[in-house]
């Protein structure tokens, strides 16, 4: 085991507020000099999507899924008080007023702080997401890689 503390977060959820929590903890832990990994699986993968349409070959069901899921962090809804999409706008306005960083900036900051952002390849297949549709500079792995990180970890969270 290395001497560095380690924080490993599974981001399963696809909501703006939960992803914010994940990235705030990750950035905090990185500032504390932890080795930090966020492992994105299922709906959490949507936080890593580019916000433009990327033309890739897909089957019918994959096309449908990827059309209905939010394209990137900024388009995600809230887990609570979403109000058909008005909730996220309200929260973002309040965040601006309080100078809180919006999610896309939190993700950029995580990348600058060398937080390892991993996309779960198995669930990418299930949801029909291709590497071309996801942000640059992330890694691709499965549950074995997650466990290798997590079993040496100090803070393990499932969000």
């Amino acid at each position: 085991m290395s001497e560095k503390k380690r924080t490993t977060i599974i981001l399963f959820s696809g909501e703006y507020d939960k992803a914010m929590a994940a990235y705030i903890i990750a950035n905090g832990a990185a500032a504390y000099d932890h080795e930090v990994t966020i492992f994105h699986t299922f709906w959490g993968l949507n936080a890593l999507r580019k916000n433009e349409h990327v033309p890739v070959q897909k089957g019918f069901m994959e096309k449908m899924f990827s059309k209905m899921m939010p394209r990137g962090a900024d388009k995600m809804g809230l887990s609570n008080m979403n109000f058909g999409g008005i909730g996220p706008k309200l929260i973002k306005d309040i965040m601006k007023k309080h100078n809180a960083m919006p999610l896309p900036q939190l993700i950029e900051m995580a990348q600058e702080q060398d937080v390892k952002l991993v996309a779960c390849t198995m669930t990418m297949d299930l949801l029909g997401l291709h590497q071309d549709e996801l942000l640059e500079g992330i890694e691709y792995a499965g549950v074995a890689a997650y466990l290798a990180d997590a079993q040496e970890g100090n803070v393990n969270l499932f969000i």
Copy 2:
């Protein structure tokens, strides 16, 4: 503390995708030679229900609850894009295409790998679930047993 690594998961949620995540991590950790426990509480207990009706004496409210909850892993909905029950069918079709194991098989595999499956007796009472309605070969315990496992654990998750 034993030399073996230990993974302890609380499965609180009653959705197909979250239960899949729990069982994929559990099976992965067992393959990595961890001692693994999944502690099922609240809606997560539904993953352990037999899929046939079991005649047991229940009060009115317990009967209502257990009628409205999914009877077994295969009947659970999705936490996202459930679309009134179409979402799970779509996901299962896609999983078949990718040779991904469906949830009931993941549970069988966990039992074969000696993952300890525990049902929380306190929440069984609350939801009106009887031992006869749950799968064979599982254990029954409360929060003290959970903590005894978790406090020696390397990977602790709440799903």
Copy 3:
């Protein structure tokens, strides 16, 4: 690292059943002689609200948010089978029948057992919650304080 075991729970969710799970684990861990912290953030802050109206100066959006969020533990909904507010009543009736402690009492018990209850100041700002609106005897902190606790922890959960 101190010799005492440590349990640190982030309560992000604002539902009665999830908060119950958090407080049952916390009380169990305290009985096991762990140092226990529950760090309340986002919707989990509602568990700490006083149940009466507290007159404080707020902007329009903060007023709206705090009006629509449940005022205290007893008013929270269920994450599943909420049925427009009937679900929580049913659960509470069943709990009474089984002599299970309702959430407000679980919170009192946690305070008596010296479980450290922390409110996340950053998300208090976002949701427009003031200290006057929250229970007495809690602490106020941010992600750095959370990490300081969690990185020495045995059981870390995100609920």
